[in-house]
Symmetry: C2
Protein backbone atom coordinates (compact mmCIF):
# COMPACT_ATOMS: atom_id res chain seq x y z
CA UNK A 1 0.00 0.00 0.00
CA UNK A 2 1.18 3.57 -0.60
CA UNK A 3 1.46 5.35 2.74
CA UNK A 4 2.08 8.99 3.51
CA UNK A 5 3.33 9.54 7.05
CA UNK A 6 2.71 13.12 8.13
CA UNK A 7 5.31 14.48 10.53
CA UNK A 8 9.09 14.16 10.70
CA UNK A 9 9.50 13.52 14.44
CA UNK A 10 10.54 10.24 16.03
CA UNK A 11 7.04 8.75 15.75
CA UNK A 12 6.75 9.58 12.06
CA UNK A 13 10.22 8.29 11.26
CA UNK A 14 9.75 5.09 13.23
CA UNK A 15 6.43 4.25 11.61
CA UNK A 16 7.67 5.22 8.14
CA UNK A 17 10.70 2.97 8.51
CA UNK A 18 8.62 0.03 9.71
CA UNK A 19 6.01 0.39 6.96
CA UNK A 20 8.77 0.60 4.37
CA UNK A 21 10.48 -2.50 5.79
CA UNK A 22 7.17 -4.36 5.46
CA UNK A 23 7.17 -3.65 1.72
CA UNK A 24 4.86 -0.64 1.60
CA UNK A 25 5.70 2.41 -0.51
CA UNK A 26 6.20 5.25 1.94
CA UNK A 27 6.69 8.98 1.77
CA UNK A 28 7.02 11.34 4.71
CA UNK A 29 5.07 14.55 4.28
CA UNK A 30 6.17 17.86 5.72
CA UNK A 31 5.42 21.53 5.12
CA UNK A 32 8.73 22.53 3.55
CA UNK A 33 11.13 19.64 2.79
CA UNK A 34 14.03 21.97 1.93
CA UNK A 35 13.74 23.73 5.29
CA UNK A 36 13.35 20.42 7.12
CA UNK A 37 16.42 18.97 5.38
CA UNK A 38 18.47 22.07 6.18
CA UNK A 39 18.01 21.62 9.94
CA UNK A 40 21.20 20.67 11.71
CA UNK A 41 20.18 21.00 15.35
CA UNK A 42 18.31 18.49 17.55
CA UNK A 43 14.54 18.95 17.60
CA UNK A 44 12.56 19.93 20.71
CA UNK A 45 12.41 16.26 21.78
CA UNK A 46 16.17 15.82 21.36
CA UNK A 47 16.03 13.86 18.10
CA UNK A 48 18.74 14.33 15.46
CA UNK A 49 17.87 16.05 12.16
CA UNK A 50 15.96 13.87 9.72
CA UNK A 51 18.53 14.17 6.93
CA UNK A 52 20.67 11.43 8.44
CA UNK A 53 17.67 9.18 8.93
CA UNK A 54 16.61 9.64 5.30
CA UNK A 55 20.12 8.76 4.14
CA UNK A 56 19.75 5.44 5.98
CA UNK A 57 16.27 4.85 4.52
CA UNK A 58 16.66 5.60 0.80
CA UNK A 59 13.30 4.01 -0.04
CA UNK A 60 11.50 6.71 1.95
CA UNK A 61 11.18 10.15 0.32
CA UNK A 62 10.50 13.44 2.09
CA UNK A 63 7.87 15.40 0.15
CA UNK A 64 5.58 18.41 0.64
CA UNK A 65 2.16 17.66 2.15
CA UNK A 66 0.35 18.21 -1.18
CA UNK A 67 2.64 15.74 -2.96
CA UNK A 68 2.05 13.26 -0.13
CA UNK A 69 -1.67 13.70 -0.76
CA UNK A 70 -1.29 13.04 -4.47
CA UNK A 71 0.69 9.88 -3.72
CA UNK A 72 -0.98 8.14 -0.80
CA UNK A 73 -3.65 5.51 -0.49
CA UNK A 74 -3.53 5.81 3.30
CA UNK A 75 -2.10 8.21 5.88
CA UNK A 76 -0.46 8.14 9.25
CA UNK A 77 -0.94 11.36 11.20
CA UNK A 78 2.19 11.72 13.33
CA UNK A 79 2.18 15.49 13.60
CA UNK A 80 1.73 17.37 16.87
CA UNK A 81 -1.84 17.70 18.09
CA UNK A 82 -2.04 21.38 17.31
CA UNK A 83 -0.43 20.82 13.91
CA UNK A 84 -2.67 17.99 12.79
CA UNK A 85 -5.56 19.82 11.12
CA UNK A 86 -3.26 22.33 9.34
CA UNK A 87 -1.11 19.46 8.05
CA UNK A 88 -4.15 17.57 6.79
CA UNK A 89 -5.49 20.76 5.18
CA UNK A 90 -2.18 21.04 3.33
CA UNK A 91 -2.55 17.43 2.20
CA UNK A 92 -5.95 18.41 0.84
CA UNK A 93 -9.44 17.31 1.81
CA UNK A 94 -9.97 15.75 -1.64
CA UNK A 95 -6.89 13.59 -1.13
CA UNK A 96 -8.24 12.37 2.20
CA UNK A 97 -11.74 11.48 0.97
CA UNK A 98 -12.38 7.76 1.20
CA UNK A 99 -8.87 7.06 2.48
CA UNK A 100 -7.74 5.73 5.83
CA UNK A 101 -6.09 8.17 8.23
CA UNK A 102 -4.39 6.39 11.12
CA UNK A 103 -4.25 9.05 13.80
CA UNK A 104 -1.39 8.34 16.22
CA UNK A 105 -1.14 11.92 17.52
CA UNK A 106 -2.12 13.22 20.95
CA UNK A 107 -3.42 16.71 21.72
CA UNK A 108 -0.70 17.54 24.22
CA UNK A 109 -0.92 21.08 25.56
CA UNK A 110 2.37 22.36 26.98
CA UNK A 111 1.02 25.87 27.61
CA UNK A 112 0.81 25.18 31.35
CA UNK A 113 4.19 23.44 31.61
CA UNK A 114 5.23 19.83 32.06
CA UNK A 115 3.65 17.36 32.31
CA UNK A 116 1.34 18.64 29.57
CA UNK A 117 -2.43 18.60 29.82
CA UNK A 118 -4.70 17.68 26.90
CA UNK A 119 -6.67 20.00 24.63
CA UNK A 120 -9.26 18.99 23.51
CA UNK A 121 -10.19 16.48 26.19
CA UNK A 122 -13.01 14.70 28.01
CA UNK A 123 -16.01 15.78 25.89
CA UNK A 124 -13.98 15.96 22.67
CA UNK A 125 -10.74 14.54 21.26
CA UNK A 126 -8.18 15.21 18.58
CA UNK A 127 -9.57 12.26 16.61
CA UNK A 128 -13.05 13.78 16.60
CA UNK A 129 -11.62 17.18 15.68
CA UNK A 130 -9.92 15.68 12.64
CA UNK A 131 -12.95 13.60 11.66
CA UNK A 132 -15.20 16.67 11.86
CA UNK A 133 -12.77 18.71 9.73
CA UNK A 134 -12.48 15.92 7.12
CA UNK A 135 -15.76 14.02 7.27
CA UNK A 136 -14.92 11.90 4.22
CA UNK A 137 -11.66 10.64 5.69
CA UNK A 138 -11.82 7.15 7.20
CA UNK A 139 -10.19 7.99 10.53
CA UNK A 140 -8.85 5.30 12.86
CA UNK A 141 -7.23 6.29 16.14
CA UNK A 142 -4.47 3.84 17.03
CA UNK A 143 -0.96 3.47 18.49
CA UNK A 144 -1.16 6.74 20.44
CA UNK A 145 -0.65 5.08 23.82
CA UNK A 146 2.93 3.77 23.80
CA UNK A 147 6.46 4.82 22.81
CA UNK A 148 7.44 4.92 19.14
CA UNK A 149 9.84 2.04 19.74
CA UNK A 150 7.07 -0.19 21.10
CA UNK A 151 4.62 0.81 18.36
CA UNK A 152 6.71 -1.11 15.85
CA UNK A 153 8.43 -3.56 18.22
CA UNK A 154 5.67 -4.95 20.44
CA UNK A 155 7.76 -8.06 21.14
CA UNK A 156 10.29 -5.85 22.95
CA UNK A 157 8.20 -6.39 26.09
CA UNK A 158 8.20 -9.92 27.53
CA UNK A 159 4.46 -10.39 27.98
CA UNK A 160 1.29 -9.36 26.21
CA UNK A 161 0.32 -5.72 25.99
CA UNK A 162 -2.45 -3.90 24.26
CA UNK A 163 -3.25 -1.41 21.52
CA UNK A 164 -6.56 0.38 21.06
CA UNK A 165 -8.46 1.35 17.91
CA UNK A 166 -11.35 3.81 17.63
CA UNK A 167 -13.31 5.02 14.63
CA UNK A 168 -16.63 5.19 12.87
CA UNK A 169 -15.63 3.01 9.88
CA UNK A 170 -15.61 -0.70 10.74
CA UNK A 171 -13.82 -1.69 7.51
CA UNK A 172 -11.11 0.86 8.14
CA UNK A 173 -10.64 -0.46 11.69
CA UNK A 174 -10.36 -3.98 10.25
CA UNK A 175 -7.69 -2.84 7.78
CA UNK A 176 -5.75 -1.08 10.53
CA UNK A 177 -6.06 -4.11 12.81
CA UNK A 178 -4.59 -6.30 10.04
CA UNK A 179 -1.80 -3.77 9.61
CA UNK A 180 -1.11 -3.86 13.38
CA UNK A 181 -0.91 -7.66 13.24
CA UNK A 182 1.50 -7.41 10.31
CA UNK A 183 3.68 -5.15 12.48
CA UNK A 184 3.74 -7.81 15.19
CA UNK A 185 0.80 -7.02 17.47
CA UNK A 186 -1.20 -9.99 18.75
CA UNK A 187 -4.69 -9.90 17.25
CA UNK A 188 -6.28 -10.55 20.65
CA UNK A 189 -4.45 -7.53 22.08
CA UNK A 190 -6.04 -5.11 19.57
CA UNK A 191 -9.02 -3.66 21.44
CA UNK A 192 -11.76 -1.95 19.43
CA UNK A 193 -13.04 0.74 21.81
CA UNK A 194 -15.92 1.81 19.57
CA UNK A 195 -16.75 4.85 17.47
CA UNK A 196 -14.56 7.92 17.05
CA UNK A 197 -15.74 9.39 20.36
CA UNK A 198 -14.07 6.47 22.13
CA UNK A 199 -10.72 8.01 21.14
CA UNK A 200 -11.28 10.29 24.13
CA UNK A 201 -10.47 7.24 26.21
CA UNK A 202 -7.17 6.36 24.56
CA UNK A 203 -6.04 10.00 24.37
CA UNK A 204 -6.83 10.35 28.09
CA UNK A 205 -4.29 7.59 28.81
CA UNK A 206 -1.53 10.09 28.12
CA UNK A 207 -1.53 11.78 31.53
CA UNK A 208 -0.93 8.52 33.41
CA UNK A 209 1.56 7.40 30.73
CA UNK A 210 3.52 10.60 31.33
CA UNK A 211 3.43 10.13 35.12
CA UNK A 212 4.60 6.52 34.80
CA UNK A 213 7.35 7.67 32.46
CA UNK A 214 8.39 10.12 35.16
CA UNK A 215 8.16 7.58 38.00
CA UNK A 216 9.88 4.73 36.13
CA UNK A 217 12.43 6.88 34.34
CA UNK A 218 12.00 5.06 31.03
CA UNK A 219 9.42 4.49 28.29
CA UNK A 220 9.76 0.71 27.96
CA UNK A 221 6.29 -0.04 29.27
CA UNK A 222 2.78 -0.27 27.95
CA UNK A 223 -0.75 -0.87 29.13
CA UNK A 224 -1.98 -4.44 29.07
CA UNK A 225 -5.65 -5.24 29.56
CA UNK A 226 -5.61 -8.21 31.92
CA UNK A 227 -8.78 -10.27 31.65
CA UNK A 228 -10.16 -13.35 33.32
CA UNK A 229 -9.30 -16.29 31.00
CA UNK A 230 -12.88 -17.31 30.29
CA UNK A 231 -13.50 -13.73 29.30
CA UNK A 232 -10.63 -13.38 26.84
CA UNK A 233 -12.02 -12.65 23.38
CA UNK B 1 -7.04 0.04 62.51
CA UNK B 2 -10.41 1.78 62.88
CA UNK B 3 -11.74 2.58 59.40
CA UNK B 4 -14.72 4.64 58.35
CA UNK B 5 -15.87 3.87 54.84
CA UNK B 6 -17.91 6.75 53.45
CA UNK B 7 -20.62 5.68 51.01
CA UNK B 8 -23.08 2.79 51.00
CA UNK B 9 -22.79 1.74 47.35
CA UNK B 10 -21.18 -1.44 46.08
CA UNK B 11 -17.66 -0.01 46.36
CA UNK B 12 -18.15 1.09 49.94
CA UNK B 13 -19.74 -2.20 50.96
CA UNK B 14 -17.09 -4.29 49.24
CA UNK B 15 -14.20 -2.42 50.83
CA UNK B 16 -15.89 -2.33 54.24
CA UNK B 17 -16.44 -6.08 54.14
CA UNK B 18 -12.86 -6.78 53.13
CA UNK B 19 -11.36 -4.47 55.75
CA UNK B 20 -13.57 -6.06 58.41
CA UNK B 21 -12.54 -9.56 57.30
CA UNK B 22 -8.89 -8.53 57.67
CA UNK B 23 -9.52 -7.72 61.35
CA UNK B 24 -10.00 -3.97 61.14
CA UNK B 25 -12.80 -2.24 63.02
CA UNK B 26 -15.08 -0.77 60.37
CA UNK B 27 -18.05 1.54 60.24
CA UNK B 28 -19.84 2.74 57.13
CA UNK B 29 -20.72 6.42 57.24
CA UNK B 30 -23.79 7.87 55.57
CA UNK B 31 -25.86 11.03 55.87
CA UNK B 32 -28.96 9.53 57.43
CA UNK B 33 -28.68 5.89 58.51
CA UNK B 34 -32.39 5.55 59.25
CA UNK B 35 -33.32 6.73 55.77
CA UNK B 36 -30.65 4.51 54.20
CA UNK B 37 -31.86 1.47 56.15
CA UNK B 38 -35.47 2.15 55.18
CA UNK B 39 -34.71 1.85 51.46
CA UNK B 40 -36.25 -1.21 49.89
CA UNK B 41 -35.62 -0.55 46.18
CA UNK B 42 -32.46 -1.21 44.14
CA UNK B 43 -30.10 1.75 43.92
CA UNK B 44 -29.27 3.58 40.67
CA UNK B 45 -26.57 0.99 39.90
CA UNK B 46 -28.92 -1.94 40.48
CA UNK B 47 -27.56 -2.93 43.89
CA UNK B 48 -29.90 -4.28 46.58
CA UNK B 49 -30.61 -2.18 49.70
CA UNK B 50 -27.80 -2.17 52.25
CA UNK B 51 -29.94 -3.53 55.08
CA UNK B 52 -29.49 -7.11 53.87
CA UNK B 53 -25.74 -6.62 53.45
CA UNK B 54 -25.44 -5.26 56.99
CA UNK B 55 -27.36 -8.25 58.35
CA UNK B 56 -24.71 -10.49 56.78
CA UNK B 57 -21.86 -8.33 58.16
CA UNK B 58 -22.79 -7.78 61.81
CA UNK B 59 -19.32 -6.47 62.67
CA UNK B 60 -19.87 -3.44 60.41
CA UNK B 61 -22.11 -0.69 61.73
CA UNK B 62 -23.87 1.99 59.69
CA UNK B 63 -23.45 5.38 61.38
CA UNK B 64 -23.93 9.09 60.57
CA UNK B 65 -20.92 10.82 59.03
CA UNK B 66 -20.14 12.76 62.21
CA UNK B 67 -20.09 9.56 64.26
CA UNK B 68 -17.82 7.98 61.64
CA UNK B 69 -15.51 10.95 62.11
CA UNK B 70 -15.45 10.52 65.88
CA UNK B 71 -14.60 6.83 65.46
CA UNK B 72 -12.11 6.54 62.64
CA UNK B 73 -8.33 6.53 62.46
CA UNK B 74 -8.51 6.36 58.65
CA UNK B 75 -11.12 6.84 55.94
CA UNK B 76 -12.11 5.36 52.62
CA UNK B 77 -13.97 7.83 50.41
CA UNK B 78 -16.37 5.70 48.35
CA UNK B 79 -19.00 8.36 47.79
CA UNK B 80 -19.90 9.73 44.37
CA UNK B 81 -17.55 12.38 43.01
CA UNK B 82 -20.03 15.20 43.48
CA UNK B 83 -20.90 13.92 46.97
CA UNK B 84 -17.35 13.59 48.23
CA UNK B 85 -16.66 17.05 49.66
CA UNK B 86 -20.10 17.35 51.29
CA UNK B 87 -19.65 13.92 52.87
CA UNK B 88 -16.21 14.83 54.20
CA UNK B 89 -17.56 18.15 55.50
CA UNK B 90 -20.18 16.18 57.42
CA UNK B 91 -17.40 13.96 58.83
CA UNK B 92 -15.74 17.17 59.98
CA UNK B 93 -12.43 18.77 59.02
CA UNK B 94 -11.08 18.31 62.56
CA UNK B 95 -11.74 14.57 62.32
CA UNK B 96 -9.79 14.40 59.05
CA UNK B 97 -6.74 16.33 60.24
CA UNK B 98 -3.66 14.13 60.28
CA UNK B 99 -5.63 11.06 59.19
CA UNK B 100 -5.37 9.05 55.99
CA UNK B 101 -8.18 9.43 53.47
CA UNK B 102 -8.04 6.74 50.78
CA UNK B 103 -9.92 8.31 47.89
CA UNK B 104 -11.35 5.60 45.64
CA UNK B 105 -14.01 7.85 44.06
CA UNK B 106 -14.11 9.19 40.52
CA UNK B 107 -15.63 12.51 39.43
CA UNK B 108 -18.06 10.98 36.96
CA UNK B 109 -20.35 13.52 35.33
CA UNK B 110 -23.53 11.99 33.92
CA UNK B 111 -25.03 15.36 32.96
CA UNK B 112 -24.27 14.72 29.31
CA UNK B 113 -25.44 11.11 29.30
CA UNK B 114 -23.62 7.79 29.15
CA UNK B 115 -20.75 7.13 29.06
CA UNK B 116 -20.10 9.89 31.60
CA UNK B 117 -17.39 12.49 31.23
CA UNK B 118 -15.22 13.68 34.13
CA UNK B 119 -15.54 16.88 36.16
CA UNK B 120 -13.03 18.08 37.27
CA UNK B 121 -10.50 16.74 34.76
CA UNK B 122 -7.18 17.35 33.01
CA UNK B 123 -5.89 20.37 34.94
CA UNK B 124 -7.56 19.33 38.20
CA UNK B 125 -8.91 16.17 39.81
CA UNK B 126 -11.29 15.05 42.52
CA UNK B 127 -8.30 14.10 44.66
CA UNK B 128 -6.89 17.62 44.45
CA UNK B 129 -10.32 19.10 45.14
CA UNK B 130 -10.57 17.07 48.33
CA UNK B 131 -6.99 17.81 49.39
CA UNK B 132 -7.56 21.56 48.87
CA UNK B 133 -10.80 21.45 50.89
CA UNK B 134 -9.13 19.48 53.72
CA UNK B 135 -5.46 20.45 53.63
CA UNK B 136 -4.66 18.61 56.87
CA UNK B 137 -6.03 15.29 55.60
CA UNK B 138 -3.42 12.82 54.38
CA UNK B 139 -5.05 11.98 51.05
CA UNK B 140 -4.03 8.96 48.99
CA UNK B 141 -5.78 8.28 45.70
CA UNK B 142 -5.98 4.53 45.09
CA UNK B 143 -8.16 1.68 43.80
CA UNK B 144 -10.25 3.97 41.58
CA UNK B 145 -9.34 2.17 38.36
CA UNK B 146 -10.96 -1.27 38.60
CA UNK B 147 -14.24 -2.92 39.62
CA UNK B 148 -15.12 -3.25 43.30
CA UNK B 149 -14.78 -7.03 43.01
CA UNK B 150 -11.21 -6.77 41.75
CA UNK B 151 -10.26 -4.10 44.32
CA UNK B 152 -10.48 -6.73 47.05
CA UNK B 153 -9.89 -9.87 44.94
CA UNK B 154 -6.89 -9.08 42.75
CA UNK B 155 -6.16 -12.80 42.37
CA UNK B 156 -9.45 -13.18 40.47
CA UNK B 157 -7.48 -12.35 37.32
CA UNK B 158 -4.94 -14.94 36.17
CA UNK B 159 -1.95 -12.68 35.63
CA UNK B 160 -0.48 -9.58 37.21
CA UNK B 161 -2.36 -6.31 37.11
CA UNK B 162 -1.73 -2.92 38.59
CA UNK B 163 -3.01 -0.39 41.09
CA UNK B 164 -1.94 3.24 41.30
CA UNK B 165 -1.37 5.50 44.30
CA UNK B 166 -1.05 9.30 44.28
CA UNK B 167 -0.61 11.78 47.10
CA UNK B 168 1.58 14.36 48.74
CA UNK B 169 2.29 12.35 51.92
CA UNK B 170 4.93 9.65 51.36
CA UNK B 171 4.24 7.95 54.72
CA UNK B 172 0.53 7.81 53.97
CA UNK B 173 1.26 6.25 50.56
CA UNK B 174 3.47 3.68 52.28
CA UNK B 175 0.70 2.81 54.75
CA UNK B 176 -1.83 2.48 51.93
CA UNK B 177 0.59 0.37 49.90
CA UNK B 178 1.00 -1.98 52.87
CA UNK B 179 -2.78 -2.12 53.18
CA UNK B 180 -3.08 -2.99 49.47
CA UNK B 181 -0.55 -5.80 49.92
CA UNK B 182 -2.54 -7.07 52.91
CA UNK B 183 -5.60 -7.19 50.63
CA UNK B 184 -3.69 -9.33 48.12
CA UNK B 185 -2.07 -6.88 45.71
CA UNK B 186 1.47 -7.67 44.60
CA UNK B 187 3.84 -5.03 45.99
CA UNK B 188 5.52 -4.65 42.59
CA UNK B 189 2.15 -3.91 40.98
CA UNK B 190 1.50 -0.88 43.23
CA UNK B 191 2.67 2.09 41.16
CA UNK B 192 3.35 5.38 42.92
CA UNK B 193 2.44 7.99 40.31
CA UNK B 194 3.66 10.95 42.35
CA UNK B 195 2.04 13.83 44.18
CA UNK B 196 -1.68 14.50 44.42
CA UNK B 197 -1.78 16.11 40.97
CA UNK B 198 -0.85 12.72 39.50
CA UNK B 199 -4.33 11.55 40.47
CA UNK B 200 -5.43 13.32 37.29
CA UNK B 201 -3.82 10.42 35.48
CA UNK B 202 -5.59 7.61 37.30
CA UNK B 203 -8.95 9.40 37.24
CA UNK B 204 -8.52 9.90 33.49
CA UNK B 205 -8.35 6.11 33.07
CA UNK B 206 -12.09 6.00 33.65
CA UNK B 207 -13.18 6.91 30.11
CA UNK B 208 -11.24 4.03 28.53
CA UNK B 209 -12.30 1.71 31.36
CA UNK B 210 -15.93 2.54 30.58
CA UNK B 211 -15.40 1.97 26.83
CA UNK B 212 -13.71 -1.38 27.47
CA UNK B 213 -16.55 -2.31 29.81
CA UNK B 214 -18.92 -1.52 26.95
CA UNK B 215 -16.88 -3.40 24.33
CA UNK B 216 -16.15 -6.45 26.48
CA UNK B 217 -19.54 -6.59 28.16
CA UNK B 218 -18.07 -7.31 31.59
CA UNK B 219 -15.93 -5.68 34.28
CA UNK B 220 -13.53 -8.57 34.93
CA UNK B 221 -10.50 -6.76 33.58
CA UNK B 222 -7.87 -4.35 34.80
CA UNK B 223 -4.90 -2.38 33.55
CA UNK B 224 -1.51 -4.02 33.86
CA UNK B 225 1.67 -2.05 33.32
CA UNK B 226 3.79 -4.36 31.19
CA UNK B 227 7.50 -3.55 31.52
CA UNK B 228 10.69 -4.91 30.09
CA UNK B 229 12.04 -7.39 32.69
CA UNK B 230 15.30 -5.56 33.37
CA UNK B 231 13.18 -2.49 34.03
CA UNK B 232 10.81 -4.05 36.54
CA UNK B 233 11.14 -2.31 39.89
Amino acid sequence: MRFAVLGTGIVGRTLAGKLSSLGHEVVIGTRDPAATLARQELDAAGNPPIAGWLAEHPAVRLVPYAEAGAFAEAYVNATSGSGSVPALEAVGAANLAGRIVIDVANPLDFSQGFPPSLNPVNTDSLAETIQRAFPEARLVKALNTMSAHLMVNPSALPGPHSVFVSGDDADAKKTVTDLLVSIGWLAEEVYDLGDVTSARGSEMLLPIWLRLYGSLGHADFNFHIQQAPARQL
